[in-house]
Amino acid sequence: MKDEQISMALTDNSEASTLQKTGIILFASGILSAIIALAGAGNAQPVLFFWLAFGLSTAGGLLYAYTYFKNPSGIQNNGIFKNGVNNSGVIAWLTGLVFTGFYIILYWFPQYLEGLIRATDTFSVLLRNRPADQWFLYGTIYTLAVLVMGIRFIGKYRHSRYQVIRTLSVMFFQTGFAFLLPAVLLRLNQPEFYFSYFWPLKYSYLFPNDVNYFLNSGAVGYFMVFWGAVMTFIATPLLTYNYGKRWYCSFVCGCGGLAETVGDPFRQNSDKSLLSWKIERYSVHSVLVLVSLATILLWINSYTNGTVLGNFSGSFAKSYGFFIGSIFSGVVGTGFYPIFGSRVWCRFGCPMAAILGIFQRFKSKFRITTNGGQCISCGNCSTYCEMGIDVRAYAQKGENIIRASCVGCGICSAVCPRGVLKLENLDEKGRFEGYTKPEIN
């Protein structure tokens, strides 16, 4: 009885509820087809299973996303904490387990994905003029997920133009810059390059190996090295000074894009305690130190031709790649969405976020302004902050929120029922000055 009520409460009318159910059935059929493809059918009937697996699940996802447009526009959080999936319950742990399992297979046992990889061959040849591999499969799933869940997100927050625009932006950068463009580059026999990822998130772009490889690939390669360096050393500080880290984390980054779209149903599970803020600061800055160290060591090694460090720098960088690049950013970073909230990686691990955060905290025009004394301490802002920031702690004191970790998603401002919060770029001067009530007699 109870569950039925809740699933109904998600949507406003029975038509929407039928659509939602149809969507879920289609999606489940897509997943089932994927499993059959994996069992071997994908090798035998690649094209059929491409359409079955990707077509059905995308259609189902779109139908489900469409139901969000049927609800009255405005905040649609009814029943979130009555529902096991979004709410760290048993189902959340199971969902987490499935996500995690997928990443483990993807990184270390890709042979089990053979059936699905073959199903994407035709698509891969079309785009890249070469057969698919596990990364192409992953990229396809990733991009589709961002697109479908992005549409859902837009439906859910369509009353807020800020939310719509930034979601279109991450959908665009994921599809264009992180999926199609690298594929086209391969097709043109150029190095595969992601123009929307920079060191230190894409750490290898400033490792000697990659730099040398690009430089040896002709003019396009030169441009790639140039682009990477400019983005890391010039554009990043400048843009962050003017707009805060959100220009990257909430408008460009693919990891952020996944977190905002696929991760949205889980954003409320991020921990808001002071303790986890402490852990976050140690952890994210340690990763930044490690990746910087790895980069420096590799360059020392490359200058000295290995005479000083021997194999050390290489294995150090490799361990970084294994523990941080694969386990942390992939397995934990996405696998644990349902348990630690959608931005686990961005919050505890991403070295790019760490750098952007340092700028944002100490040298930036960005802040979230609190509107006077209007806060009613309800806690919606803190609860729905995916970065685990206790927004209310500042808002109820009339203080501005200036936190290194804030990705500027703007959800706190959207869910606030009293219109208390505004993300803005203002004069740097006075950014820490809170509100004081003017006296009258």
Binding site: I80, G379, T383, K422, I440
Partner: protein, 431 residues
Amino acid sequence: MALKVVIIGNGITGITTARHIRKLSNAHITVISDETAYFFSRTALMYVYMGHLKFEHTQPYENWFWKKNKINLVQARVDKIDFLHKKILLNDASFLDYDKLIIATGSQPRTVDVPGQHLKGVQGLYHKQDVELMEKNTAGIRKAVIIGGGLIGIEMAEMLHSRNIAVDFLIREQHYWASVLPIPEATMISKHIAEYHINLHPQTELKEIIGDKNGAVKSIITSDNTEIECQFVGITIGVQPNVNFLKNSEIAIDKGILVNEYLETNITDVYAAGDCAQFTHPRYKHPAIEQLWYTGKMQGEALAQTICGHKTMYNRGVWFNSAKFLAIEYQTYGAMFNTPAKGDTTFYWEHPKGKIAMRANFNASNFTLTGFNFMGIRFRQAVAENWIIAQKNIWEVMENLNVGFFDPEFFTNHNQPILTKFLQQYPKPIA
């Protein structure tokens, strides 16, 4: 010996007072409250029922906060106060001494006096326990009736709507909250309520509640003798000071505990603040009892100063309030009533599609701003306050509205249409 301060009530008023006393002094602070062990945000109760939040999310401080800041919390009910010997009697028959006592016991829902008022399924909404009761009373039901169209009434309607329970909403006025909102705003909200398929019955009152054989609500009869089937009746006709346990004691009470502008009662070393206090001499255009989150907080801040030896008058400042009617946000600044205050004139702009509106009131003789209403527009409080205090010229105000808009980035800015309409109605005098 440190000063012994006892506070009754761990709501926003009691807790703000406690926190500020702690900032200012090393007094020994004890907060006694019966409702919950820890401070929570009453204003967020609706979100717990709707599943936006868990109850723990409504608690603004982590549980370790109180011990760390040496604020003693006692969960108990105060049954009696012996003002002569400065002793408090708790419901477990234990006593507590105080040097200074602050009463911040808040409100309780007003009840109706009609046949059937005690039937199962009839309730108000104020305490945490009311939400728990509502959870039980509404499990599996289809139809509900709400009596009284104030701020809590519309919250209750939204709560029930979130569970797909059909709502009939009885209000005394012609439009929703027309006792406070001018007719255009009230009409706009009434229309918005209809969009949610919530059935608003204007100028309708409750006459009788009818029960079934198990003593549960079956239907109600309205003042025009219509019967409406329902399994739940929400009574939201306002709140009143929660001071019954003090009746027949030495403390002076009218509706609430009578206080002066320092929040002092008639008894030395005893203070009252928040929803339970009533100003003996309210300020001009201000209510005698302020039943708001904001006012409770500001009273607590002022009172803490006084308790710590810096006698401070409570200064409400420029009146402000805010609410959300389903999806429409509302902010108000200055003394805004359903008709302009004496000597004021008014300007109203509404977006052609509804749901967005603004009103500015100004003095009809010297054209200075007196207040704002905003619907579906967020506006900076500091700007509104400063303009109202500075008695800014209304044409300057309207030309500079941009400075105050607080909507998120990329939102449509309505400055131009507002200004155009204003200048049509009130052409700028040639200086």
